[in-house]
């Protein structure tokens, strides 16, 4: 199989049999035969070559690797198993043709990578059915390989962005350390206060990035342990507001929480906190001095609707479109001094998905942003149900 598997319309079939009648018959059976593969949006046809001896087969295999090898077990100069053993490239699908389908031959051939067997004599229909099955299998393998390749690519990109995100705070802290080591600002410790403060901030940012990353990988691998229980949303929202209080004060942003008394849902308390804190933190961080951040929760049938509105800097259409990407941080004159890992919304989206919800965003540049999401109650574990 070649490296670039799409799009292939014609599969190369090599028939190895010492009986000329067999070779001609098989060629005739496959001539004009086509297999529609709608799931791959392709129809496959077959180009047929043939060889009469083991030596000839090996020469042909060496010259060009076929997609499918139809191989007779009993050849004049060697067995089909010998052909398989001697061919260096195993990257084709082998169908063994054998007159005496002994178990021993079958086992050995399978060990050598044979995909299927055809017992002699076989009808053209039998040959076509076997070939169709082989073609489908080839396509499935290629698709799996392509998916694997894509996955590898995504992983690679993620890691290189991550490395970059860690590199810049490291470089900053390293630079400050050098300045301090060289006593560039004289012997007084106070002269270095701002450098120390910046170093602490940048290290804090790195720490947050690493913690977010751990959250994200736990969510993605499904390995995060979830503890589902009735969660008091009034309390949860209050805690989230408390957590952003100092940041809000520093940014002179008023935080308001509106939750009807007694509102509760079945959820993992840690996940609820992640959602509410994430929304409020963003609403405060990307706000304007004197602005307002409002978090509202209400029951909507079997779900809880959450809305978080800010009177902040807002986003342009273009910025909105790339908002949920990993490590995406809006870079403009308003956000220059705002720290963040760039993973917050990726995490939010993944957690919300656990509750069958999705995150909707509306934003107006210069006026503010509204995040809306609904969370369905998590399936109630029996013990919790019983406790109610």
């Amino acid at each position: 199989m070649n490296d670039d598997p799409l799009p292939v319309h014609q599969l190369d079939v090599l028939i190895v049999d010492d009986e000329a009648g067999m070779r001609a018959g098989a060629e005739r059976s496959l001539e004009g035969f086509s297999v529609p593969l709608p799931e791959f949006s392709e129809t496959v046809t077959f180009a047929v070559r043939s060889a009469a001896t083991g030596e000839e087969a090996l020469a042909q295999l060496k010259a060009k690797t076929p997609d499918i090898l139809l191989l007779d077990y009993k050849l004049p100069d060697m067995t089909g198993i010998d052909v398989l053993a001697a061919s260096s490239s195993g990257d084709f699908l082998t169908i063994m043709i054998t007159a005496f389908a002994s178990l021993e031959v079958a086992v050995t051939a399978t060990k050598r990578g044979a995909f299927d067997f055809l017992a002699k004599p076989f009808t053209p229909e039998e040959l076509r059915a076997t070939i169709s099955k082989a073609a489908r299998s080839i396509y499935l393998h290629r698709k799996a390989r392509r998916l694997e390749e894509e996955k590898r690519q995504v992983r690679f990109e993620f890691i290189s962005v991550l490395a970059h995100e860690l590199k810049s705070p490291l470089a900053a802290v390293e630079g400050y350390m050098h300045l301090m080591k060289e006593r560039m600002k004289g012997p007084e410790l106070e002269a270095y206060d701002s450098m120390i403060e910046r170093s602490v901030t940048r290290i804090g940012g790195m720490r947050k990035l690493v913690m977010d990353l751990l959250d994200l990988t736990r969510l993605e691998s499904g390995k995060k342990k979830r503890a589902l229980e009735p969660v008091d949303l009034v309390k949860a929202a209050g805690l989230a507001a408390e957590a952003v209080a100092s940041l809000a004060e520093a940014k002179k942003v008023a935080v308001e929480v509106k939750v009807p008394a007694g509102l509760a849902m079945t959820a993992d308390p840690g996940e609820v906190d992640m959602i509410l804190s994430n929304l409020l933190t963003n609403a405060v961080k990307y706000n304007k001095p004197g602005g307002r951040a409002t978090l509202e929760l209400e029951r909507a049938g079997g779900s809880v609707a959450i809305r978080c509105t800010d009177t902040g800097i807002g986003m342009t259409e273009e910025e909105l479109a790339k908002l949920f990407g990993e490590f995406v941080r809006m870079k403009n004159e308003h956000t220059r001094n705002i720290d963040g890992s760039g993973l917050g919304l990726s995490i939010l989206k993944k957690v919300v998905k656990l509750y069958g919800g999705e995150v909707k965003v509306r934003s107006k540049y210069g006026e503010g942003t509204t995040f809306e999401l609904t969370l369905k109650d998590a399936p109630v574990p029996a013990t919790v149900e019983a406790a109610r």
Partner: protein, 136 residues
């Protein structure tokens, strides 16, 4: 040293930590730093006599901010040395090497690749502002 005799260097850099560190180093070398953190902020500073050399980050609010500023500075006064600091080469595998003679089109006198070594920057500025530079 008296401020009037200090050589002024325009530093345009959007990373606040990088800016701070560059400032400390250059001031320790008795240069006076004229700071700007964006291309937009730097543009009105480009006036005759405002500075004797410039150190520019390449990628700021625009991916080519450094080039644009360099071009404007050289248009105003081709004798003012310009050093562009960039990490582009490392991250994109995109090289401004001698074979392509960057000065011909970028119009910068030196290009320093991040991670910037301050010793290197100091040496470049000394070379460019040194004996032959004689600007101001």
């Amino acid at each position: 040293m008296n401020d009037k005799t200090k050589i002024k260097i325009l530093v345009v850099e959007d990373d606040p930590d990088m800016m701070e560190q560059m400032k400390v180093y250059l001031e320790s070398e008795s240069y006076e730093v004229v700071a700007a953190s964006t291309q937009k902020e730097a543009e009105p500073i480009i006036r005759p006599g405002a500075f004797s050399a410039a150190v520019l980050d390449l990628m700021m609010e625009n991916p080519d901010s450094g080039f644009v500023l360099s071009h404007k500075i050289k248009k105003m006064d081709p004798k003012i040395p310009v050093v562009i600091v960039t990490s582009v080469t490392k991250e994109t595998g995109f090289y401004f090497d001698k074979a392509h003679d960057p000065k011909a089109w970028i119009k910068a006198d030196a290009i320093i690749h991040k991670e910037l070594r301050f010793e290197q920057l100091k040496a470049e500025l000394r070379r460019l502002l040194g004996a032959g530079g004689g600007h101001e």
